[in-house]
């Protein structure tokens, strides 16, 4: 029996090559107003993998899901243009959105996956704006499903999924049964670029709208951000003439 539907869970982040990110004057966070946003690069890779699995006929339907304010529908549209069949936009805005973290997102994705009886949930391994690397793992735990994280290769083998994972020592190959949660790593695939004709076609695809309350998820955060600071500015290097000079400077500095 081929798995019915795959959920790809997307995250909207600041554009990856944005030149200057500023910390807000009150150190409560980073300035996001007016900064160009786009789909998280690892999520693009996740979408590509799901669409590839559908093209190989391993799965029937790919659903793109994302949580956030209206801006997020753009991300879902891009995923639809890359080949997803339909989208779900879970609306979270204002204070709830600012406080939203991996736990709340994982709860939402878990509730949706259960409700829609997904066979696979694929996410990017981490969002490049917070670098948490927690949402996939938390989703799997909440669903009590096996997880294949940092996937650099995914193969569906009957009712099981073979995942080659990127770990510190090299590569680890595991076999997990479905339903399962996978998180995509950089080398999993090369995401296709959503060209204009595909974007036009995607406009006809449906994006359902819902709120976290509809899924019975409470958005209260258990984490409070105390402070955000910029990293210390790099000081210019100091040139020394001799080794003795170097030693003297290091001693004066307290380094040795």
């Amino acid at each position: 029996m081929s798995p019915a539907s795959v959920f790809v869970c997307l995250s909207l982040t600041l554009l990856s090559d944005y030149p200057v990110i500023r910390v807000k004057p009150d150190n409560s966070g980073v300035v996001t107003d007016g900064v160009k946003h786009s789909m998280n690069p690892f999520c693009e890779i996740a979408v590509e993998e799901a669409v590839k699995l559908k093209e190989k006929k391993f799965i029937k339907e790919v659903v793109a899901v994302s949580c956030g304010p209206t801006q997020v529908t753009e991300t879902i549209r891009t995923a639809l243009a890359m080949g997803c069949d339909r989208g779900i936009h879970v609306e979270v805005s204002g204070k709830d959105y600012e406080a939203m973290g991996p736990l709340q997102i994982a709860k939402i994705f878990a509730a949706l996956a259960k409700k829609e009886e997904a066979s696979l949930v694929i996410l990017g391994k981490q969002a490049i704006d917070d670098d948490c690397n927690q949402t996939g793992q938390m989703t799997a735990a909440l669903l009590d499903w096996p997880q294949g994280t940092f996937a650099s290769e995914v193969t569906i083998d009957g009712e099981k999924v073979k995942v080659v994972r990127e770990i510190d020592g090299g590569l680890e190959t595991i076999k997990i049964s479905m339903p399962a949660v996978l998180t995509a790593d950089l080398r999993l695939n090369t995401p296709r670029y959503a060209t204009l004709p595909n974007i036009m076609k995607a406009k006809k695809k449906k994006i359902a709208n819902m709120k976290p309350a509809d899924l019975g998820v409470d958005m209260v955060s258990r984490v409070e951000v105390l402070r955000v600071d910029e990293p210390p500015t790099r000081l210019a290097g100091v040139k020394v003439e001799t080794v003795d000079d170097l030693v003297a400077k290091l001693k004066a500095n307290g380094t040795i």
Binding site: S16, D17, P41, L186, T190, Y193, T195, P197
Partner: protein, 108 residues
């Protein structure tokens, strides 16, 4: 960047390739929004390239030019991907990169 194209302003109503050419122009324009040297730079080059071939009428010639344009679309897609990939690689896989370049390794 090499671009070709056909008559966008075509007075020749019978030419069936007109629709394709128009679509090609729109697709390229869409892709050009993220061009590293700027969307305006891209649009100028795109327009002049299309204008240059304004009076081509032979369908075979036009077909060749349109195919050329499709290749450019693929190239741009690849270039954008590589750009993204190298940013991610630098940010998250610095150790690997340094290893490849043999930096930070103890010398025996």
């Amino acid at each position: 960047m090499v671009v070709k194209a056909d008559t966008v302003s075509g007075s020749d109503m019978a030419n069936p390739l007109r629709k394709e050419v128009r679509q090609l122009y729109k697709n390229l324009l869409y892709l050009g929004r993220e061009y590293p040297q700027g969307a305006d730079y891209f649009r100028e080059r795109l327009n002049s390239a299309f204008m240059k071939n304004k009076y081509v009428t032979d369908p075979k010639e036009i077909r060749k030019l349109v195919d050329c344009g499709e290749d450019v679309i693929k190239e741009l897609g690849t270039m954008y991907y590589l750009r993204e990939y190298s940013i991610m690689k630098k940010r998250f896989y610095e150790e690997e990169l340094l290893g490849l370049l043999n930096i930070g390794r103890p010398t025996d």
